[in-house]
Assembly symmetry: C2
């Protein structure tokens, strides 16, 4: 299983945003939509062994986590609006501490990074980290931030995590996911 | 200079499409918008040494080529609608065989791949090609297709081009550009 966790520091936590204004009114939801695209899409196929967690911290009802699971995901197209529309549907659902499915392969629950870190131990993508190409074994879970840096409280609970870099240039979160998956694809192929 | 050429086989050639329906009515213009994003965006910066050519072959007025130049590009945000809106503005301009600037860093002209191939010699991104990591020197120009394969007539005029692969898995065009740029970033850094 390949897992990506992306923090959306301003991302709205109700479904009441316009698909025509995801960078603005939806709190840079467009960043998260692109992370969904890069986590799952292959040419004419989906990565069935991937999961992407979106941690939404914006108003009016933080924190919520939306999970996209490749093994059961349906109705997702590559464009930003498609992911945005599935996120809207998930956010329209009343939610508690357990994941509830809104559309096939998309789930929502109350809670954020702290809860996720009790369930998995990701590495933190960071330009100062170990180069992913130099790692003997690739981690299966990766933590990224949107256009904002990790907050102080996030840094406090992630300080112990190993840091991994995808190269000398600081990239957008979705581009970073693409580069990580390319390295995973290459390792899998060479171990076949 | 880093150059990417992307063929949009169905992409509309007038500005009369809705930003709300780029995958449908605009002929998969969303694919091309994502290629613009991956060609230029760095975290809090733009790649000023990149150019991306979009070859639009759809109705009602093919063929047209739109050029985005990083060195003078303005008003581009990472979301698909932003690139789509700059493309609409370019397509609203009357055009002939010379590039004409529609907004800073965005140009349009009549003509397609055949004209471009008299001006540069790209490599063709193809899963059967030489692994980019194994190349002694990286090419500066890369030719990609949207969600459709190259047509017969495109294949006829590109058959002589070297073929390069970014890994064992067939990726979307925008993801491919991201992986190519990551390899370029690494080479540049190691030659500093």
């Amino acid at each position: 299983m390949k897992q990506f966790i992306v923090i959306g520091h301003l991302a709205r936590t109700d479904g009441d945003f316009s698909l025509n204004d995801m960078p603005g009114g939806a709190g840079r939801m467009d960043v998260l939509c692109r992370c969904i695209n890069s986590s799952f899409f292959l040419s004419h196929d989906l990565r069935r062994d991937a999961e992407c967690y979106l941690v939404l911290l914006g108003e009016p009802d933080p924190k919520k986590t939306i999970l996209f699971r490749g093994d059961s995901l349906r109705y997702l197209s590559p464009d930003e609006r498609s992911a945005g529309s599935l996120i809207k549907k998930a956010l329209a659902l009343p939610c508690d501490e357990e994941f509830r499915e809104s559309t096939p392969g998309v789930f929502v629950r109350r809670g954020g990074l702290e809860e996720l870190l009790t369930e998995c131990t990701p590495v933190l993508l960071d330009e100062g980290g170990t180069d992913i190409r130099d790692m003997e074994e690739l981690p299966s879970a990766y933590l990224l931030s949107d256009h904002h840096n990790f907050s102080e409280s996030e840094t406090a609970i992630t300080n112990h995590l190993p840091r991994v870099s995808v190269g000398p240039t600081v990239l957008h979160a979705d581009h970073t996911i693409t580069v990580v998956l390319n390295e995973m694809d290459r390792r899998e192929k060479s171990s076949e």
